[in-house]
C-alpha cells in the first residue's frame, strides 16, 4: 500500500508533472474552460484511457507476461503520441523505482516500458495497482487544469474526489480492456503538431 501511495504522490520524482494527458490541447481549443467542462473531460478520460491503463497495471500485478502485455498495450494505443507519453512516464517512473525498490521483476520489464506495466510490477496487488493507475490518469490532468486555466484548486480537488476511480479500478481487474479514446488520441497528436509555447509534453 505504501508503494501505491508514493507512486500516486504528486511529489514522486517520476516526471509525471510534465504531462497533462491531453488537457493542455483541450484547454487551448476551449474545450475545457471551467469546472463543468473539466469534470466532463476527466470523467471521459477516467472511464476510457484510465480503465485501459488500469487494466494493464492489474494484469502486470497478477504476474502476466510483461512482453505480451507490452505488445498488447501497443496494439491498443494507435496514437504514436500516446505511446510515447506512456513510455516516457514509464521510463521516468522506472528510473526512480530502481533506486527505491530494486527487484528482479523490475529488470524483467521491456525497454522503455509502458507506465501501467511499471505500476503493476511495483504495486503487486492488482486492485491497488489499478487504483493507482486510474487515479494517475486523472490527477495529472486535474493539476494541469489548475495551472493552465487558473481554476480553483479546491473545486478541482472536489471534482477528482467525486470521480468513480474505485469503480474503474474494480472493473479493470476483471478483464484486459481494449477501450479506445479517439478524441484523446486526436488531441495528443494535435498537441505535438501545435506550434508555439507548450507547457506540457503531452
Amino acid at each position: 500500500m505504501l508503494t501505491a501511495l508514493i507512486l500516486a504522490d504528486s511529489r514522486f520524482p517520476g516526471g509525471g508533472h510534465v504531462h497533462s494527458g491531453g488537457l493542455e490541447e483541450a484547454a487551448a481549443r476551449g474545450l475545457v474552460s471551467d469546472e463543468p467542462s473539466l469534470r466532463s473531460f476527466l470523467h471521459g478520460r477516467l472511464v476510457g484511457a484510465g480503465l485501459l491503463a488500469a487494466g494493464f497495471a492489474a494484469a502486470a500485478a497478477r504476474g502476466e507476461d510483461l512482453d505480451v502485455l507490452d505488445a498488447e498495450l501497443d496494439a491498443r494505443t494507435p496514437s504514436p503520441a500516446q505511446r510515447e507519453a506512456s513510455r516516457a512516464q514509464g521510463r521516468g517512473m522506472l528510473r526512480a523505482a530502481r533506486r527505491a525498490w530494486p527487484s528482479e521483476r523490475l529488470a524483467a520489464l521491456p525497454r522503455d516500458p509502458h507506465q501501467p506495466l511499471v505500476i503493476g510490477v511495483l504495486v503487486d496487488d492488482p486492485f491497488e495497482a489499478a487504483l493507482t493507475c486510474a487515479y494517475l490518469a486523472v490527477s495529472g490532468p486535474a493539476s494541469a487544469a489548475v495551472r493552465l486555466l487558473g481554476l480553483d484548486p479546491f473545486g478541482v480537488n472536489a471534482i477528482v474526489a467525486g470521480l468513480p476511480v474505485q469503480d474503474v479500478a474494480s472493473r479493470a481487474c476483471k478483464e484486459l480492456p481494449a477501450l479506445g479514446s479517439p478524441a484523446l488520441d486526436l488531441l495528443a497528436e494535435a498537441h505535438l503538431r501545435r506550434e508555439g509555447v507548450r507547457l506540457f509534453g503531452s
Partner: protein
C-alpha cells in the same frame, strides 16, 4: 434471427481471383460481381432489415495466398432494437493470406439499439488488409443507442490493433476525452508494408501503428466530412 455466411476466395492458375465458396444466409446475402480479373468483387447485401435486437449474425471470409477480394456494402446499416429488448450481435472473421479490402457503408446506431459488433482479422506474413468503419450516433435529431464495436487484427499471431469503441453513453460521448460530442466517428485500418508519415488536423489523424500498418481516425458532424479523410489514405 441467427445467420452465418461464408466466403472463400482463391487464385486460379491465370492470376485471377475466384470465389470458391459462397454461402449466404438471410440477411447476409453475398452477391459476386460477374467479372474475371485479379480482384474478385463481392457485395454484402442485407436482404432483410437487420440487425434487430435478438439477431446474431456471423460472417467468415477467407482470402487465400495470391488472391484479392474487394468486399463492399451497398447500403448503410441501421442498428435497430427488437421487440424483446434483447441485444443484437455481429461477428466478422477474416483469415487473410492474400489481399482483402472491406468497405461496408456507415452504421447508424438508432435510439434504443443495443448491439455488439466484433471484427477479428488474422493475417499471415504478407497479407494485406484494408477495412473501414463509420459509425453515426443516431438518426437526425435522435439520441444514439448503445453499441460496442471491437476490432482485433493480428499478423502471425502478433497483435497489430485492438480497439473497442463504445457509444451511447451521453456523459462519455459528450466528453472532450470521449467523442467530444461529435456525431460521426470513422476509422480506416490499412495493414500493408507501406510506411506512411503521421499527419493530422483538428479532428483527424493518420498514424503509424506500433507493429506495422496505418490507422486513420476522423471525428465529425457528418459522414461526408469523415469519409473524405478516410478516402485520402
Amino acid at each position: 434471427m441467427k445467420a452465418s455466411a461464408r466466403l472463400v476466395v482463391s487464385p486460379d492458375p491465370h492470376g485471377n481471383s475466384v470465389v470458391r465458396v459462397l454461402r449466404s444466409m438471410t440477411p447476409l446475402t453475398l452477391v459476386p460481381a460477374r467479372r474475371v480479373g485479379p480482384v474478385a468483387l463481392v457485395h454484402l447485401v442485407s436482404s432483410v432489415t437487420a440487425p434487430l435486437g435478438g439477431d446474431s449474425l456471423s460472417l467468415t471470409v477467407e482470402v487465400e495466398r495470391g488472391a484479392s477480394l474487394e468486399l463492399r456494402g451497398v447500403a448503410a446499416t441501421l442498428l435497430l432494437p427488437g421487440s424483446s429488448g434483447a441485444e443484437s450481435s455481429s461477428l466478422v472473421r477474416f483469415h487473410v493470406q492474400g489481399n482483402l479490402c472491406y468497405k461496408p457503408e456507415p452504421t447508424v446506431v438508432t435510439g434504443r439499439a443495443n448491439h455488439t459488433a466484433v471484427v477479428e482479422a488474422e493475417l499471415d506474413g504478407h497479407a494485406q488488409l484494408r477495412t473501414r468503419e463509420v459509425l453515426v450516433l443516431g438518426r437526425a435529431g435522435e439520441a444514439s443507442g448503445a453499441l460496442s464495436s471491437t476490432v482485433r487484427a493480428t499478423r502471425c499471431g502478433k497483435p497489430l490493433l485492438h480497439q473497442q469503441l463504445v457509444v451511447g453513453s451521453p456523459s462519455i460521448d459528450g466528453s472532450p476525452a470521449g467523442l467530444a460530442g461529435k456525431r460521426v466517428v470513422g476509422t480506416e485500418l490499412v495493414l500493408d508494408s507501406v510506411a506512411r508519415e503521421s499527419d493530422g488536423g483538428e479532428w483527424w489523424s493518420v498514424v503509424p501503428l506500433a507493429a506495422g500498418g496505418t490507422l486513420a481516425t476522423a471525428l465529425g458532424e457528418d459522414v461526408v466530412t469523415v469519409t473524405r479523410v478516410l478516402d485520402a489514405i
